[in-house]
Symmetry: C3
Subunit: 279 residues, 3 copies
């Protein structure tokens, strides 16, 4: 992908920003995403009147597909720690969670792997019936790196977190809402207006109250930073091991990272392919 | 309001009490409520055979509307700490949570702000389809004072807690059950019998078992007292700031604290009025 | 019951085991169960390629009924601590929770008391509409011993945990799913295929990834061992007190521990009998 701006920021008002993510046909995350998200989080941290940010996508079918399997991993590995002392990949997510503003993911397409980790780092997740979430990393023999072990266990409970993380299957919107993985499902034709109306409420509220509430909910609900460090370490130790390359090549042969191939049901498909490939 | 008894206690049996709250047309909470709830909690703590207490209201449409905006705040600010060392407002709620008996809120009307904080401090929340919950404080530029940041995050998960607390909107019974804000919804025509039958079960059980179970669930689920202290401090720092007075006056012009005006959809209405008032 | 093997292990493949529990007409747990489960957990801990274990029952209507009221309690009390330093009853459950494999309960019948504690110690609970769960111990004046105070509070939230544990009533499958007590309900005619397909996915995944994910979810979600020690101590202090013997005899007169008597609705029935017996 390119170094062009992946996060398009529409400053609707000083208290309300609308951010559209755009990176290739399925919205992959890559090394540039890490750098640019770091910059964006810094801008939000320093916006004096901002109380609400909505994250969205204009890409049909895709909110954020997942981490780019062709990304420059050497560049990522060499990145310097961010303000929290953590690697920037999780530093971004940790700082996103602690922002003194409400952050909302409006999910109308797929958000798997790193895309799921992104939405889990935002405060509120509204999904349309077209949303599909999931953490398929177990299917490519990796521990997810962006903290879903820490977050999902607290959000949906141990049993459902383990089903999502060890099963690695796709989680359609309705099941995601039943489990608490997303807040609720809003019909796809209404979700833009719904999210906008919800954001405009918060945009009309006082920053002191919004930030004060956030801080106390953060204290009650956010995992310790150490859990994110351990998760990323497990990811680096497991992802991209050479013995997995043939399987990843098989995924690319099936159209991975393209809109109409295996990406449509990636989590489910990986499970099937693994059983065939092993058998 | 008056210093008359706001909590009417019906001692159905030595093991089962039924408490009806009554304070004005919409059941506001005020300085007297704090004093009287403290006395009631003390009575429950010392009732040797009591295993279950049901809290309810006979006021159509209202369980407990919210904190009285006309209450004597100087009197409240001057109150001496309760047995936990906390201000009596949260001391009551903390002690309510730790009682060696089962406490049940039977919610057939509105329970917002301090009323929501009250039901969150009880063990079990049964709601009829007429119940409406919410924490609208953000809409009057305040951090809620009675601990919902500490409690909701653990009860409904971070995402839904932030939606409730930062959106400040009304939460109708069905959504409250979907989120886990209440245990479940029972049809309004059946809820009295349902709650009574549930309470009579517990009333027939041994206090040693009830108290023993409570103590261990408390250890697993209750926030530290420090979280309640921080929440109340944030409330005192944000509530009633002079710049908000014109907006509160606008709410009174719209019938606040009366049964048929803006109280019917207070959370929703405040969001709309704020957008108009600011715009 | 006998010392015959209660856990029938079908090693479907080196990565997938299917375990069928079998102990009398309603699948009671007893002193032998403790010994044999300890052995089984040890086998699973040491199986190098195992990634998934399914627990199930062939007994119509019963997954695991509950602890055998006629078990040799002196033998249980005299058991030496297991590897965690805890009594083997909870040592088994704690080690079951920390296994480096996915454990799944396929629940098509009743799982109450110790049976509920067993499924809560497994990672994932799939239930058919014929499943009934519950912790009825409060109804026989005991604090449950296998940790549900520690587990349910975190899994379903404080309010619903207290309803389950203090009400002691039967929890049918649909309500169990609504509360998060089980992951979800799968039609009884489909659940065997569903669970098998889910297990075969995980069986195709790499042990390093499965174990790595489990370890981090465990860190985020498992209670401290001390909570299990306190729970079992409360059980030993409350269960089997002499004053309760007449009531237990009444339960046996009503067919307890037989498939077609009071076991069918045990939680509900105990509540009714207690009210009659006391009244």
């Amino acid at each position: 992908m390119s170094a062009a701006e992946q996060f398009h920021v529409d400053e609707v008002s000083p208290s309300y920003w609308r951010v559209t993510f755009d990176n290739g046909p399925v919205n992959l995350l890559d090394a540039d995403t890490i750098d640019q998200l770091g910059v964006l989080v810094g801008r939000i941290e320093n916006a004096p009147d901002l109380t609400v940010v909505v994250f969205r996508s204009d890409k049909p079918g895709y909110f954020m597909a997942h981490w780019d399997f062709l990304a420059d991993n050497a560049r990522v590995a060499a990145m310097q720690p961010g303000p929290t002392g953590l690697h920037p990949y999780v530093d971004n997510f940790v700082r996103l969670g602690r922002l003194p503003v409400a952050t909302i993911s409006e999910i109308r397409g797929r958000a798997r792997g790193a895309g799921s980790e992104f939405v889990l780092a935002t405060d509120i997740r509204f999904a349309s019936e077209k949303a599909i979430l999931g953490q398929f990393e177990v299917g490519v023999d990796a521990v997810p790196g962006g903290g879903p072990m820490a977050r999902l266990g607290r959000l949906v409970g141990r049993g459902r977190a383990l089903e999502i993380l060890l099963g690695g299957d796709d989680v359609p919107a309705a099941l995601a809402a039943e489990y608490g993985y997303v807040n609720r499902v809003i019909p796809d034709g209404e979700i833009e207006n719904f999210t906008d109306a919800f954001a405009r409420r918060i945009a009309a509220f006082d920053k002191v109250a919004v930030a004060g509430i956030k801080k106390l909910v953060d204290a009650a609900t956010l995992p310790d930073d150490a859990e994110f460090a351990a998760g990323l370490q497990a990811y680096f130790a497991t992802a991209g091991r050479p013995e997995r390359r043939p399987f990843v090549q098989l995924l690319f042969k099936n159209g991975m990272q393209q809109p109409d191939g295996i990406e449509t049901d990636l989590g489910t498909a990986i499970g099937k392919l693994r059983q065939t490939a092993n058998g």
